[in-house]
């Protein structure tokens, strides 16, 4: 060791930095780092100079100014006197709302379509292929504006529901689909509704423990309980009984036509629905392909072994094929969730106020702080994306085949 050091230091020449494999990688890394830092410094310096020349040095104080604009879709209290920061938070929540709902719908649709595409039924399999190829091969932005156009052009105006000669009518007198959005019955929590909610939450906990107990029982005795129906019963019955015992504290408020528009109930803006429909149909096509690939990746021997054991086709699917296919499906599923979340930024095309519409749209235009707004916007999406992929990776690791 000492000798090697001696020869190295003794006959060290500058050219060894390049031609000696012991030093070359270090040299290259240092050069790359220097170039990178020089480039970054050049860009940042240019930026600061340019911003200073325009009289708007980098700073985030504008976030605490009054926003001065309204947001029609909000999950938390907000009015135009609130700060830009709060407007951004409202937008962020809207992004998360559409991303979450979209992921749920897309997953359900995608799994169903993916399984149906493998169906032995010729016409169903063909139809699903057509669906997948249609949705995958057309830009998502086109789907978004298309579904928005459907809601605006095809659905009736609230006015059409009026009078005796109404050209449109409400579904079950409870749902109104208009070109301004959907009006659904909304719950009103009266006195004593707390008890119902608590019982409902308790039954969810109960379901969890029942599931554990049923599994343990199955392992011990081999008997299989109809867990699905029992769980459904536990979920619904106690809450319904308490609801009637307490004298029906939770009532539904139905939307009614008042003035020019419907009042009451839950109002879902059509920009939200159009975005949701387009994003989930589009992403479902990709998820369906991932599901199909996952199922096809499971060798036929597994299915045959299962049927040799006497499992029925449904049980083969749910106990043998799907658990194994999940390992193949999850990684592409993660990236589809990420894609959906990022594509939700196209909300700006239909006027849904997500974070791109508030922070990257109106706030940017009003304050003229492009640099800060877009940097914050990117940061938000980066955090969302990294957290989604982190959570899903943890899940992925938990279902991964443990090789010993």
């Amino acid at each position: 060791m000492a000798m090697a050091d001696q020869t190295a230091s003794g006959s060290f020449r500058l050219s060894m930095l390049i031609y000696d494999t012991r030093y070359r990688s270090m040299t290259i890394q240092i050069i790359v780092l220097m170039l990178f830092m020089l480039g970054a410094a050049w860009l940042v310096d240019n930026m600061l100079t340019n911003l200073a020349a325009l009289g708007k040095p980098l700073g985030f104080r504008f976030l605490s100014d009054a926003a001065g604009y309204d947001i029609n879709q909000r999950l938390i209290e907000y009015n135009s006197q609130d700060t830009h920061l709060r407007a951004a938070v409202v937008g962020l929540l809207n992004t998360l709302l559409v991303a979450f709902l979209g992921c749920v719908i897309a997953t359900v649709l995608g799994v169903v379509i993916g399984v149906m595409r493998l169906s032995k039924n010729w016409i169903v399999a063909r139809l699903m292929t057509v669906y997948i190829e249609t949705f995958r091969n057309v830009p998502v932005l086109l789907w978004i504006v298309f579904s928005m156009a459907i809601f605006i052009e095809v659905l009736p105006q609230p006015n059409a529901f009026r009078g005796d000669a109404a050209t449109a009518s409400m579904l079950f007198d409870a749902f109104a689909f208009t070109n301004r959005g959907f009006y659904l019955p909304g719950p009103i929590f009266g006195d004593g509704s707390m008890a119902v909610v608590v019982v409902f939450l308790l039954s969810i906990v109960g379901i969890y423990f029942f599931g554990k107990w049923a599994k343990a029982r199955q392992e011990a005795t081999g008997e299989i309980l109809p867990t699905f129906w029992i769980k459904l019963g536990i979920l619904i019955l106690p809450a319904v009984i308490v609801h009637f015992v307490m004298g029906q504290p939770i009532t539904l408020e139905y939307p009614e036509l008042k003035g020019f528009n419907f009042q009451g109930g839950i109002y879902m803006r059509n920009s939200l629905i159009a975005l949701l429909v387009a994003l989930s149909l589009y992403t479902a096509a990709f998820i369906a392909e991932a599901v199909r690939a996952g199922i096809m990746a499971i060798s036929h021997g597994q299915t045959e072994a299962a049927s040799a054991l006497g499992l029925r086709p449904k049980r083969t699917m749910s106990l043998v094929v799907l658990p194994q296919a999940m390992r193949v499906i999850i990684p592409p599923l993660i990236s589809q969730y990420l894609n959906l979340t990022k594509n939700s930024s196209l909300a700006i095309a239909v006027g849904y106020m997500d974070i791109t519409g508030t922070l990257g749209g109106i706030t940017l235009n009003q304050t003229g702080r492009e640099m800060e707004c877009i940097m914050l916007l990117m940061l938000c999406y980066l955090i969302i994306s990294l957290s989604i992929s982190m959570v899903m990776n943890i899940y992925n690791n938990s279902v991964k085949l443990k090789e010993r």
Binding site: Q29, L51, L127, N137, L142, F146, N343, Y381, S385
Partner: protein
């Protein structure tokens, strides 16, 4: 007793299979009505398809291709559905945007030459000399599209030639590395300080050029194709470099690559397009103002390179280690082993992913309508702004969807074909 036996001595005549076991009846029993749920699904599907076609075909099957305005369609008694006149009248615009009519042959020529330029890359049976054309094509194509003085592209090419000459001449006297550094620096200096002036002087001496077209005139499908193809062409090599960087043993190179890839993949393309439209000029020295389409191409390329890198990394990771070790055992250095052993195999594995990224990039070019460029979707707003076509929706969207569908679907089919062709396993 013996005549009680009966032994058949000749074969029975073959009977035709029962009616339910042959032909269409058997097929439909097996594929459509194998069980009760299956039959229900079949019937439901048929009803749904029939309903959709029942609604759609009478609407779409209209002799309205010659209508000159939406009012004409609405007033006409014969036309009860789609008003396809908008496609006929605005076809040119949907293809070329506001590109001057008498110059549109340049765009067409550019796309035709593109085929000639990529042919030698795709098919190795063609003469290798054709690669020279592929090398000049980017500059020539740019000149055809944007027009202006021919000297502009020529001085840019001159930079590359200069670099090559420096490399050739000095590698003997100064040694490989010094020559390489100078070969990179000389063209840079040339482009930054002398190229503009040289082009002006040459243009003054001998004005050769064609009419210049501003970026704001570009639009329609040709804009999507220009952005898409430029993005694809540049992001591919960039993606390879990034993928190698991510797989590298060098810590700093690896960290930078990972950071870049994860950052780009974590943000939506639309934010990067915002950067292109409002921020990019801030990062340049004061007074620089380069073209919006160029800026968009830069950001789209940077975006897609990160995805490309991930796809190629997948291919690199899928190769058995034996391949890397065999390349080392042959005494190849890093670049040789990559070029001769690793990349050809890794790229082959990642073909589906690469084409998928290309398709994604092409579809994503529609996003430029949000920052105000006139790609087909951006043009729909412009067309609806005209009083003649006010309120027209479906015809345009259906036409645009069809256009994109044809391109992306054929790309995905081509990738399947390529995959099969390159498959070496049995």
């Amino acid at each position: 007793m013996s005549d009680q036996f009966y032994v058949r001595t000749e074969m029975l005549e073959e009977q035709p299979a029962p009616l339910g076991q042959t032909g269409i009846l058997k097929w439909s029993r097996e594929n459509l009505f194998s069980s009760i749920p299956n039959s229900i699904m079949t019937i439901v599907s048929v009803v749904v398809v029939a309903f959709l076609l029942w609604e759609f075909i009478p609407w779409a099957w209209q002799d309205s291709w010659n209508a000159s305005s939406r009012r004409e369609c609405l007033d006409s008694t014969e036309i009860t559905g789609a008003c396809w006149g908008v496609i006929t009248e605005r076809f040119n615009q949907l293809m070329f945007g506001f590109y001057p009519h008498e110059l549109q042959w340049r765009v067409l020529l550019c796309f035709v030459l593109l085929i000639a330029a990529i042919a030698p890359v795709l098919f190795d049976k063609l003469p290798r000399e054709m690669l020279w054309f592929s090398a000049i094509y980017p500059f020539f194509g740019y000149w055809l599209l944007w027009g202006g003085s021919l000297w502009g592209p020529i001085v840019v090419i001159a930079g590359f030639v200069l670099g090559y000459l420096v490399m050739r001449l000095l590698s003997q006297t100064l040694g490989g590395l010094a020559a390489m550094i100078l070969a990179v620096l000389t063209p840079l200096i040339w482009w930054l300080f002398f190229a503009g002036a040289a082009a002006d002087i040459l243009h003054g001496i001998m004005p050769v050029g064609i009419e210049a077209v501003k970026s704001s005139k570009f639009g329609g499908l040709s804009l999507s194709l220009i952005i898409g193809i430029a993005g694809i062409a540049i992001s591919f090599p960039l993606g390879i470099v990034l993928a190698l960087g991510r797989q590298s043993d060098m810590f700093i190179v690896k960290t930078l690559s990972v950071g870049y890839i994860e950052f780009i993949r974590g943000v939506p393309l639309i934010t990067l397009l915002f950067v292109a439209s409002v921020l990019l000029n801030y990062f340049m020295p004061k007074g620089t103002n380069f073209d919006i389409i160029l800026r968009v191409v830069i950001m789209v390329t940077l975006f897609s390179a990160a995805y490309m890198a991930e796809v190629i990394r997948g291919g690199l990771a899928a190769l058995p280690t034996g391949q890397y070790e065999a390349a080392d055992a042959l005494g190849l250095d890093y670049w040789q082993s990559m070029q001769l052993i690793i990349m050809p195999q890794a790229l082959k594995i990642s073909i589906p992913g690469i084409v998928g990224t290309f398709i994604g990039l092409f579809k994503d070019t529609t996003l430029v309508s949000i920052i105000g460029l006139l790609d087909p979707i951006g043009l729909t707003t412009a067309i609806r702004g005209d009083s003649a076509w006010n309120g027209i929706v479906w015809e345009l969207y259906i036409f645009i969807a069809l256009m994109f569908w044809v391109f992306t679907f054929s790309m995905s089919r081509y990738s399947m074909y390529l995959e099969n062709k390159l498959k070496t396993t049995h």
